[in-house]
Structure formats: structure tokens, C-alpha cells
Symmetry: C2
């Protein structure tokens, strides 16, 4: 492997990870961001992807407006945590711009529509998983997303699929439990103090309301997401399955993508050789979650991580990432990885930080 | 030029046409279909893109369902003219499938949503142009479509941009008049007896209602389409302008694309070297319209035409194309051209006809 790629960490399944990086050399990626909302995010204490729970409906559309316009239109400023720490879309935007990577947003189910082009695949906002009836039409969404993935795979050399959905690690937990992956205490959080107990309680209530036992849907991913999932999961999984028939796909996200991986593996095991998870150093080093443990229970795929490091940043809002705030989202780790790869290492963690700080100054102040 | 490309007619501006074909050799296209509806199509006698005027709202979504699914979902069967002649989407579908060309549908403004993935860019159905206030937000649509075009141009080697909008030649006439191109008697029709008088009367009523004189908006394409256009025009024009900054674009359509060309030229003259019109033999040979005359009044771009010939077809529903029914639509000429090019001439007018007949038999009976 090119030694210039030092800023990509081979975090899990190292040989496969290395092979994948070689396959992606000189290739042109397409970045796709699957966005959605779920009422689950409005449970107090679940999500920090917004200044308060009610505003989480605006976070995904604002994130993708930032990617395409360099500013948000549906909200003033940019999405922030309750403590004012800015969205990881800042990282994604910086990486995509630096490496000139094309982007296509996919709506999986939204209350607020972004003021940019986005692909509609017929999804709806997710209901609170504690109803046990989270999604109405997951099967149709999977099928339309597959068509999209197949078509995109004929134009791009590989796909990077990110996500933005507040509350997504809780719905990841419940789907993983429904599919028989014991993810309790293993999903990550956008908060430094990971509220595992609240997530577990919520997921268990969801399974109870759906009248299912842990593992009951181990072979039925559509039933699992329909009962206790979120709209991003079937959309991203369909997109990945459709694309990975033809080209490699980097699933860009943290432990939310472990749940998507379980859905992907349930839909079509044959494409797993074309799949990797791409995330951040903050996720693979996170002591409150365990992405390697989760992935190894699901499928033998590699995990890459962009070696992003904000410890020397001049801005407290970025330094906070080192304290475990945010960590991942909007495919920032996968986008940074793709930027490093596409530039053959000319883009480094340092040039990325420079660009991120530049954008931070403009947008956050 | 490859002599195997005999089935592509250099219909206008031959040297530029030849150069373009050389530039597209060994390149990978992306086919995009911009669909929309306008109340203008419901004026009795204007459009044959549907069994009756009221059903024209279903024609564009049904057309693109055919492209992605091989069948329609929002209507039984396939769109037909009042005489039962099937949609040109049959040709497009056959060409795209044969050459394995990826496809992305763009909604410019619909009443009925297709049950396949499509890009939403914020457009609305067009009002009857006789209101003089056809479109509400053309500027925003142009701007979002540009973003889409820019992004797609970074993943595909070239774009083929088709359209499906019933009533589109009448709105083409009115926009061309508003922009100072005398198109009276020059736009084509999906009917053998081109109802020029009705179209001219409708367009003149539209200009009067908008309180504008012919040529008044020669430098303001957004004002022209806002007053007397249809939603496909700003969407396709934005997409083309965004993409043609970086890659060649085949504007796939008949005289409707002449109106889009006028809008494109008004938005950005600098990208015209990357633009060509791609249509059918039926359009370039049509005695009731004049695509060469229209194009030469607007911009010095080439016209290519797929040499489709259904005279030997075993099906009356296809033979009817030779009698001047349908002629063009859903980018069928540009899609056929791209299929011939991508296959380096292995796909010919004959293999196309075989595939079209095969699909005709399955879908029309």
C-alpha cells in the first residue's frame, strides 16, 4: 500500500482492509448521504444531534444543505449539539470539497425537505420504536434503493454511503437485538457520557411492543427494521446491496452502520466482499462503544478509520471532538478516507484540519 | 469516425457532430430523464401523449417506471396515444438495457409520483400557459438542477438528458417566441397532422396574458419560462448548464430541446461547445417541423439523430412511427445514439428494433 495513506487506520480485518485500499487506488468515488428522521430521537436524552430534541427534524436536511451549498438554508447557522458543538457535516463538506468528490443525497423519510437536489425513494419519517411499528413500507424502500444503487454503481468506481439520522444509535441497538446481535453497551453516542441504560431500556420497550424476542428476526432484516428500526436503515441497506453487486462500497458511519451491515448481510450475503465500514478514529478508539466487536459478530468485513485528530485545533468547538463529543456522522470518516485515497495521500489529516478550521471560522465563527 | 457508427445521422453542423462523436468514443454515459406536467397539455387537441388529455398527468411517471422496472406501476399497460400507439419510452428502455446505461430520473414538477427513485429539485406542475404565469419558482429549480448537473458530471463521462412532458412542443413554441426565435410552424408534434394553428393561438394567448411581446425576454430565459414555459425547461436547462461545464451533454429530444437550448444559451453561452441535440430520424425528416432551422437560429450546436426505422416492423403499433405518430420523447433518440456509441456500433438500428419488438410483444401484446 502507498505509504502516503498513513492517515487511514486499518482498524479491523487488516488484510482485507489493505486489499480494499489497493482496489480503490486511482478510482473515482461517489459520495451518497442517506438522511431520515425518527420520532425516537425526541425521547429526552437520546440524541445530541441538535440543540434540543424538537429541532432534530432539521438536522439531516441542514447537514446536506451544508454539503451542497456550503451553508444551511432550513436553519440559521449549522446544526449543533446542546453544548454548541458543530455538526460533523463540516468535516464531510471539507473532505468532499478538497477532493472534488461528487455527492448525491438520498431522502429516506423526512419532515423537513432540504433545499438542494435529493433522491426520493418513497420513505416516510420513522415512528417512535416504542410503538413496535417503526416503519410502514421498508420493503418498498429497500427495493427502490436497490434500483438506485445498481444505477449509481454503473457510473461511479465505488460508492461511499453516509447517513444523518438523529437517534440512530438507539434504533441501531434495537435492530441489532431483533436480529440476534447482542449490542447492549456497544453502540456509540454523540455524547461523551453514552446513555447506554436509556438506550437499552428504549430498545427493550420497542421489542416488547413489537412482541418479539431478541434474535427473532435474525433472518428477516425487513421485519426487524419495520418493527424497531429507522428509515435510514432500509434505504442505506438497499443502496449498498444494489451497488455492491458491481463495485466496492464504503459504509460511512459508526455503530449505526453495524446495524445497516446486519440488514445488508440479511438481504444478500454474496455482496459482502465488496463492503467495508469507513469511520473515524474517534469511533474506533471510543471506550464507550465497540464497533470491532459488533462488526465481527455480523460479517467478516474490514473497518477503516480516518485518523482525524483535532487535539491541536485552535477552536474549542473542534477540540471537543477529542473529548468524545459527536465522533461521527454525515459519513465524515468515510468521506475523509475517500478524500485521502482519491488524492493519493496529498490530502492528509493536516490539510483536512486546515480546511475544516477554515470552514469552521466561516460558519461557526 | 468509426464506420460502424453508420446508424447515427449527422443531421446538422456535421463537422462539430463528427468531433463530438469522436470525443464520446469509449466514454461512459449517464442517461437522465427530466419529467414534468403542465396544465397546457389538457387543452383539447394539443397533446397525444396519453389516451386522453386528463390522463397526461400519468404519462411521465409511467414512462420512467418503464425505464427502471420494465413495466409501469401507476397505470396498467404502457402510455399510448389516443390511437393506441405506445410511448417512445419503449425505445429508450430497449436502448438503455441493451447498452447497460445507468439512468437517473429527475422530477421537474409532477402530480403523480413515479414508484421508482427520482431526484426532487423543488419544481411544481406547470400552470396553463394562457395564464401568463406558468411557473412559480423557475429560478430556484434552475439553481438546484445546476447543482445536480455539476455533481453528475463528476461521475459520468457524459450526460444524455431526455424529457417526458405532454404538451411540451406548445410550451416550446411559446418560450421560443418570448425569447425572439420565430418558431411558428416549426415545432413538431406527436400527431401526424401537426396542429400548428392551435399551438400558435395558444402561445399567442399566453404571451398576451403575460403582457409580453415576441422577443421581449431574449436575454431573460428564466422570465420566459416563468411566464409561458413548462417545468421541464428550467430543470433540464439547469442540469445541462451544470453538467456541460465539465463534460459533453446530449440534449435528447426533438423541438422541445430547441426551447431548452434557447434557455441554456441564455443562462450560459460559454458551455455551448459541450452541447449537442440528439434526436430521431423521424424528427429530422419531419416535414411538419424544422429542428435544423430552429437550432441554427439559437446556437451553433450539432444535431445527431438515431437512424431508427420501423418500416419493416411486424407490429402496426411500431410501423405507425413511420407515419409520423409520436416521433420522439423520453430521450429515445439520444438514448439510442448513446447505446450505439457505447457499444462501438455493435448495437445497430436492427438490434435495437429487435429489442424494441421483443419489449413491444411483452408489454403491448
Amino acid at each position: 500500500m502507498n505509504t502516503k495513506m498513513n492517515d487511514i487506520i486499518l482498524a479491523h480485518n487488516e488484510t482485507k482492509a489493505k486489499n480494499l485500499l489497493e482496489r480503490l487506488d486511482k478510482k473515482k468515488p461517489l459520495f451518497s448521504c442517506v438522511i431520515g428522521v425518527t420520532e425516537t430521537a425526541k425521547i429526552q436524552g437520546i440524541s445530541a444531534a441538535g440543540a434540543n430534541p424538537e429541532i432534530t427534524d432539521y438536522t439531516p436536511p441542514a447537514d446536506v444543505e451544508l454539503l451542497h451549498l456550503g451553508k444551511c438554508k432550513c436553519i440559521p447557522g449549522v446544526p449543533v449539539t446542546p453544548d454548541g458543538i458543530p455538526t460533523p457535516a463540516l468535516i464531510t463538506m471539507s473532505a468532499l470539497n478538497l477532493a472534488d468528490i461528487p455527492t448525491l443525497v438520498v431522502s429516506a423519510g423526512l419532515r423537513i425537505k432540504p433545499q438542494i437536489p435529493y433522491v426520493e425513494i418513497g420513505g416516510c419519517p420513522g415512528k417512535d420504536i416504542r410503538t413496535g411499528k417503526a416503519l410502514d413500507n421498508a420493503e418498498e424502500v429497500v427495493s427502490r434503493a436497490k434500483i438506485l444503487g445498481e444505477n449509481l454503481s454503473k457510473t461511479a468506481d465505488y460508492l461511499v454511503v453516509g447517513e444523518s439520522i438523529p437517534g440512530g444509535t438507539t434504533t441501531a441497538l434495537s435492530v441489532l437485538l431483533a436480529m440476534g446481535v447482542d449490542a447492549k453497551g456497544k453502540v456509540s453516542s454523540s455524547m461523551p457520557m453514552n446513555p447506554h441504560e436509556l438506550k437499552i431500556k428504549t430498545a427493550q420497550e420497542a421489542l416488547k411492543a413489537a412482541n418479539i424476542k431478541e434474535g427473532q428476526f435474525c433472518d428477516d432484516p425487513v421485519a426487524a427494521v419495520s418493527a424497531v428500526g429507522d428509515p435510514m436503515q432500509p434505504a442505506a441497506a438497499g443502496l449498498i446491496v444494489g451497488a455492491a453487486k458491481n463495485v466496492p462500497v464504503i459504509m460511512a458511519g459508526g455503530t449505526q452502520m453495524a446495524a445497516v451491515l446486519a440488514v445488508v448481510a440479511g438481504l444478500n450475503k454474496d455482496i459482502l466482499d465488496n463492503v467495508a465500514i469507513g469511520t473515524t478514529r474517534w469511533i474506533v478508539n471510543d471506550k464507550t462503544s465497540d464497533i470491532r466487536g459488533l462488526v465481527s459478530k455480523i460479517a467478516d468485513v474490514p473497518v477503516l478509520a480516518a485518523d482525524l485528530d483535532f487535539s491541536q485545533s485552535q477552536f474549542d468547538g473542534l477540540k471537543a471532538y477529542e473529548a468524545g463529543v459527536v465522533k461521527e456522522g454525515v459519513g465524515c470518516g468515510g468521506a475523509a478516507t475517500a478524500a485521502i485515497l482519491k488524492s493519493k495521500g496529498e490530502i492528509t489529516k493536516n490539510t483536512l484540519l486546515e480546511q475544516i478550521e477554515h470552514n469552521y471560522k466561516q460558519l461557526v465563527g
